[in-house]
């Protein structure tokens, strides 16, 4: 079929494959007339052919292809493709419907493939950025954890990882605490100049990173000289302070946006009720308001965290070599193309982002549920 034809002429291969399938379909429908049996024949037959030609990988490809074609033949023949659609559609409309689905599927594949490609490549036993023949044969020898080992033992990577773990949480704490207070202030009515303030607070997200980085580069090098020269602080410490402050600013818009969005659904009469019953403003905040807007605060914090954790441009300009973060290390690695350890790091980061995504999604659900309890 397609695969077998790969060695020679593609067009011819597809034609032969189609003809074969048509013949097979004719046999099934007219002679066999037993769907389950036909399906098993196709799956096993194709798997056997695949195994014969390409070993383990061929077996899996063959299994999948067999399952698909068996399904496809009966799907076409019995007109199952019409079952879920409106009965009065013309043939062309049905075709268009499925064409549209296929196009969308292709776009989803485009979206997800780059991430999926990285995962298996990070287990590559060779120092290549591509699939080796051993890997395609699913040979265990083609896979190894050596890039992960490299990541966990290499000083360079470990130091940058540690730096990231120092900088991102502190920056997140700063932006979350200040941002939440400001969002609560902004959500109250009668704030003079609300739009202007909002515009300023969100500007770090709008201004392109390279411009923020340029501005911060000039400004923080002056500040750094002042702190080191006049106040005599440690150079390393000043470097961290600069990067953390810069990252905190970048995270603020995300906190503001998510927290104000949560506060929209917050019932202000609850705080009034608490005050009525004698709670002070601080107690009201921690006992009443905070638990209710917590999901928004946490997801804002996660956004701020990932912004800082993922940030290269600003740290590249503001920081010095001792503040090298993980993304910076990856960036230099990619530019100079040192090692596939980058792919191992990428996989770890993908896993982290999946965890974060799940957390945010769960928080969003919880927040919606809470909002349902307290009608706005």
């Amino acid at each position: 079929m397609f695969v077998g034809a790969g060695q020679g002429n593609v067009l011819l291969g597809i034609l032969i494959g189609a003809a074969l399938m048509a013949a097979l379909a004719w046999v099934y429908i007219t002679v066999l007339d037993n769907e389950r049996l036909a399906r098993w024949i196709t799956i096993l037959g194709l798997a056997a052919i695949g195994f014969f030609f390409a070993g383990m990988t061929g077996l899996i490809v063959g299994l999948l292809a067999g399952w698909f074609f068996a399904f496809f033949i009966f799907w076409l023949y019995e007109g199952r493709y019409r079952q879920k659609l409106l009965p009065y559609l013309t043939g062309r409309q049905v075709f268009e419907h499925y064409l549209f689905r296929v196009i969308c599927g292709a776009i989803f594949v485009f979206l997800i493939t780059p991430i999926l490609v990285v995962l298996p490549l990070s287990f590559n036993a060779q120092d290549f950025f591509t699939f080796t023949p051993e890997m395609l044969r699913l040979d265990p020898e083609g896979y190894s954890l050596k890039h992960y080992r490299d990541f966990f033992t290499n000083n360079e990577w470990q130091r940058s990882f540690k730096n990231s773990l120092i900088i991102a949480p502190i920056a997140t704490i700063i932006s979350v605490s200040l941002g939440t207070l400001a969002a609560i202030g902004l959500s109250q009515s009668h704030v003079p100049g609300r739009r202007a303030i909002m515009g300023i607070l969100i500007s770090p997200m709008i201004v392109p990173l390279i411009i923020s980085a340029t501005g911060m580069f000039f400004f923080y090098s002056d500040i750094g000289r002042f702190l080191e020269g006049t106040l005599g602080m440690d150079k390393n410490f000043v470097g961290y302070v600069k990067v953390i402050l810069a990252h905190a600013v970048l995270g603020i818009p995300f906190v503001i946006i998510t927290v104000t969005a949560t506060l929209v659904g917050f019932d202000q009469s609850l705080t009034r009720a608490a005050a009525n019953m004698g709670a002070g403003p601080v107690r009201t905040f921690f006992k009443i308001q905070m638990p209710l807007i917590l999901p928004g605060v946490i997801s804002g914090g996660l956004f701020a965290f990932i912004t800082s954790f993922d940030e290269v441009v600003v740290v590249l300009f503001v920081g010095s070599a001792s503040q090298k973060t993980l993304p910076w290390q990856m960036f230099t690695g990619l530019r100079e193309q040192i090692s596939p350890t980058i792919l191992a790091v990428a996989t770890i980061l993908v896993v982290i982002s999946i965890a974060l995504l799940t957390t945010v999604e769960l928080l969003r659900r919880r927040s919606e549920r809470l909002r349902g309890l307290s009608p706005a």
């Binding site: 991430i115 202030g185 003079p192 993922d310 990619l334």
Partner: protein, 423 residues
């Protein structure tokens, strides 16, 4: 309401007029809200707005010439740059005096670097002559004109003095002129020589490629958001993960993935060769050029287009399209006349967002763009870290910022800043 019978103003519990007491409490609430906002506002002002403003100032600031050569600048005012004659002895004397002081303070090389941006060769001229001028005594060694010309022919060149005179002003438009491929001359702004005109082209390319990226994002995002908006909630939530996962994945991970896929020995080329679609010796060149940048950035920015489109399309009631169909409209008419106009706000919001993000991108073009696929931001980074022409970097940044703010203003008009949503 017993108050209605009272003749005076209504009173609050403590006896003050109600109006006054209300105003006071309102003022107090306003102050409290402002006090909550103040720390953050101060923080953002200090660590973000001031740096940006200082960058803007740096793009016009040019006090280095007047500070390093104060006497020379005064003398240069009397010199006629148009005449084509060398300045007189008084200027050379003033220059020697300035230079001796500058060499003492070691600032002459910095001035040389600054003037080198305008006329190549200035840097080495200042460095070389610095050592020799240091030996001259500004009091006794007069006259200086011949001696200086002997030290370096450059001092006998009218062009040198014209350059110094042109750039002696403390506030200059020179960097901005440089940023648009012009230069400051005694006769006013003039175009750079042909071979130096790269920045306008780069600006054009940045805009053009951002437009292409925005366009391809619209093309790809529209069907997907339509599908997500029309499918039942349970299925579309599942498919949404496929959109959100790339959105949450680190930018560098996605960029490195594209680098892996697009390389000459990369996944795409290997697959095509294996399938026999491409000959082994004619592998596609899809990295380090504009195509690489466009495809990688389209992928990276696609979620930013899908999310706003999806949230707009979700609000379009399906009954409208059904009504149109029941009145005899064809599929195409229904879509074009009923559905599409209602989805335009989503397209607008997504496009501006993607365009703003694309125009200032740095990392991805740097890694997959090679030399042909880079953006103006890569040029800014180059001037900051390699050529050290910070004034020009600041001017380029200011122009880019102006473009982005203009777009941001449009975005605010169309969507509103308050309506920005995430995830």
């Amino acid at each position: 309401m017993t108050d209605a019978t009272q003749s005076g103003p209504m009173l609050a519990a403590d006896g003050t007029p109600l109006k006054k007491s209300l105003a006071r409490s309102l003022r107090r609430r306003k102050l409290r809200a402002l006090a909550l906002v103040a720390p953050l506002l101060l923080f953002v002002m200090l660590s973000f707005v001031i740096p940006i403003v200082s960058m803007l100032l740096r793009s016009v600031e040019n006090s280095i010439v007047a500070e390093t050569l104060p006497l020379t600048v005064v003398e240069l005012k009397n010199w006629d740059a148009e005449g084509g004659e060398l300045p007189d002895e008084a200027l050379y004397a003033a220059f020697t005096k300035d230079m001796v002081a500058a060499v003492e303070a070691k600032t002459h090389t910095r001035l040389g670097t600054r003037l080198n941006y305008e006329q190549t060769g200035m840097s080495s001229m200042f460095r070389k002559s610095g050592r020799k001028i240091k030996r001259l005594d500004p009091e006794s060694d007069a006259p200086f004109k011949e001696k200086l010309i002997e030290i370096h022919d450059g001092w006998g060149d009218v062009e040198t003095w014209r350059t110094i005179k042109t750039h002696a002003v403390p506030i200059t438009n020179g960097y901005f002129l440089n940023a648009v491929d012009m230069r400051r001359t005694p006769e006013g702004a003039q175009a750079q020589p042909e071979d130096k005109q790269i920045l306008i082209k780069l600006f054009g390319r940045t805009l053009f490629m951002s437009l292409i990226i925005t366009g391809s994002c619209i093309l790809l995002a529209y069907p997907v958001s339509y599908l997500l908006a029309t499918l039942p909630m349970r299925v579309s939530n599942l498919l949404m993960i496929l959109v959100l996962l790339p959105f949450w994945t680190s930018l560098l991970v996605r960029t490195s993935a594209w680098k892996v896929m697009l390389q000459q020995q990369g996944v795409i080329n290997e697959t095509l060769v294996w399938l026999g679609l491409v000959a082994d010796d004619a592998r596609l060149v899809i990295i380090n050029n504009q195509f690489g940048t466009i495809i990688a950035m389209t992928h990276i920015l696609l979620p930013f287009m899908i999310l706003p489109m999806y949230s707009v399309m979700q609000t379009i009631p399906p009954s409208y399209t059904r009504a149109a169909k029941s009145m005899g409209a064809t599929n195409w008419t229904t879509f074009w006349r009923i559905y599409f106009p209602q989805s335009i706000p989503g397209i607008g919001a997504g496009s501006i967002l993607v365009f703003i993000l694309a125009i200032g991108y740095y990392i991805t073009p740097e890694i997959v763009g090679g030399t042909k696929g880079v953006f103006i931001s890569n040029r800014i980074a180059y001037h900051i870290s390699s050529s050290l022409n910070w004034g020009l970097a600041a001017a380029l940044g200011t122009i880019l910022l102006a473009v982005v703010l203009l777009l941001y203003w449009c975005y605010d008009k169309i969507v509103g800043i308050d309506n920005v949503k995430l995830g």
